[in-house]
């Protein structure tokens, strides 16, 4: 079952990869949290921490990066049944933003930690044959 309002609400992140960035970190909470200037949040956050006067600005995350770790999902959740086995990885984009995404357009035996990747827009899920189609980001090798 698709949660249509929550899918729709995440549109800026799913379709346009929007996050935000701390352009001036003024956290008064010395050493108790990991705030730092330049930090990119994806999805965007309201605050680094409650004791911050940090300046957060909207940004679009970098669409190229590298693969930090990955797995090949052999036993998938029901809605991904037709796609298994599929590769899923954690990527660090060039601006430091991190995301979990499927890695597609690559033979499963060619996956490698550190490989360059870039975001492509893909269909992620569908609510059966009659419900809504759900889109977002996957990554492909950036060669």
């Amino acid at each position: 079952m698709a949660f249509i309002p929550s899918y729709w609400r995440e549109t800026p992140q799913r379709y346009r990869y929007e996050g935000n960035k701390c352009i001036k970190c003024e956290c008064k909470h010395d050493s108790k949290c990991d705030c730092e200037t330049g930090q990119v949040f994806f999805p965007p956050r309201r605050t680094c921490c409650p004791w911050c006067d940090c300046t957060l600005e909207p940004c679009t995350i970098a669409t190229t990066g590298k693969l930090l770790t990955y797995t090949i999902i052999v036993v998938p959740p029901t809605q991904f049944g037709d796609e298994a086995p599929y590769a899923l990885g954690i990527c660090e984009m060039d601006d430091g933003a991190r995301l979990t995404a499927q890695i597609v357009d690559v033979p499963l035996d060619k996956l490698e930690i550190g490989m360059p990747v870039r975001i492509e827009f893909r269909k992620i899920q569908q609510d059966g044959h009659a419900g809504i189609l759900m889109y977002g980001y996957k990554v492909v090798p950036n060669s």
Partner: protein
Amino acid sequence: MRDVAVIGIGIQKWGELWERSLRDLWVEAALNAINDAGVDHIDSMYVGCMSGGLFVGQEHLSSLLADYLGVCPVPATRVESACASGGMALRSGFIEVASGLSDIVLVSGVEKMTDVDGGGATYALATAADAEYEVYQGATFPGLYAMVARDYMHRYGLTREQLAQVAVKNHDNGVLNPHAQFPMKMSLETVMNSTMIADPLRLMDCSPITDGAAAAILCPLEMARDLSKNPPIKVSGMGAATDRIALHDRPDFCEFRATVKAAEAAYKMAGVGPDEIDFAEVHDCFTIAELCVIEALGFFARGTAGQATAAGETARDGKKPINTSGGLKSKGHPVGATGIGQIHELVTQLRGTAGERQVAGVKRGLAQNMGGSGGSTVCHILEVV
């Protein structure tokens, strides 16, 4: 703050318990704990349950379970922190007794996971991850821990064999546990040749789907000997912590920071260090989790837990016995009940009543119960007084 003791424990044999419902399972464990302690009333109760709603379509467990135990109008609270729900229920009960608000508190955990099919269970468990940014993309729990395992192997040269040894060792222990869901030995070959679930994790790297409940009775240490004939087991240390919910937001995938912080707090409260812990029950939801956890607890240096496990250091006769109960792997993992199930094992060992799996001379044990991919953790240190 008053010192708190465990004076009663209750459980049943865990497994696919088709004949019994969530309320049946829980009431059975709760009655076992009450009878074990021999108390004639309780003042309050806590129930840890991850997802009554998704697994059996039932929320409001406080009322349901107090009702079916026959203890209304005793106040009851359901506690949720994914797979750490049981341990967090103990923490809540501990605080209530320590504060002086109540004297006799039942703490418990329950999960009835087999009323839904495999897809339903996978879905329910996945809600412990970031639904919008991990699960939406196709992540599963085995998948998240598989990414930890891949990173660990890449960085520390952990071998597939070393990883499999965790499962072999835990099944060796589970064989001796009458409550274990899968009390059978598991050869290295069986683990390494089992069905691939999320590369590099195979079926025998994963804890099973389990129905089960566990309960314990807490009271102030000073009243323990008056209330129960059981030797009081003191809860000497407690700590809980959180970490970023999404695995990708953690700087180091192999460092379970919530466990590090929870353990630090527990050690501090108990006034001991990792070397003074005789044995531990840890959250081996996947083989890789046990390795990362026993490093986070300070038992082994980073990157060495695989070798230590292969060398038998975590076996019952090793220098730091881990998961003498069989762990989540062999004993089973009814998610909300697991944290209290661990307490059941600590108390059993500390009372010296663990039978064939008894570790000789243990005085102090640690339980580490973890939610999600490490987003929440609670640690308790229990000791003989």
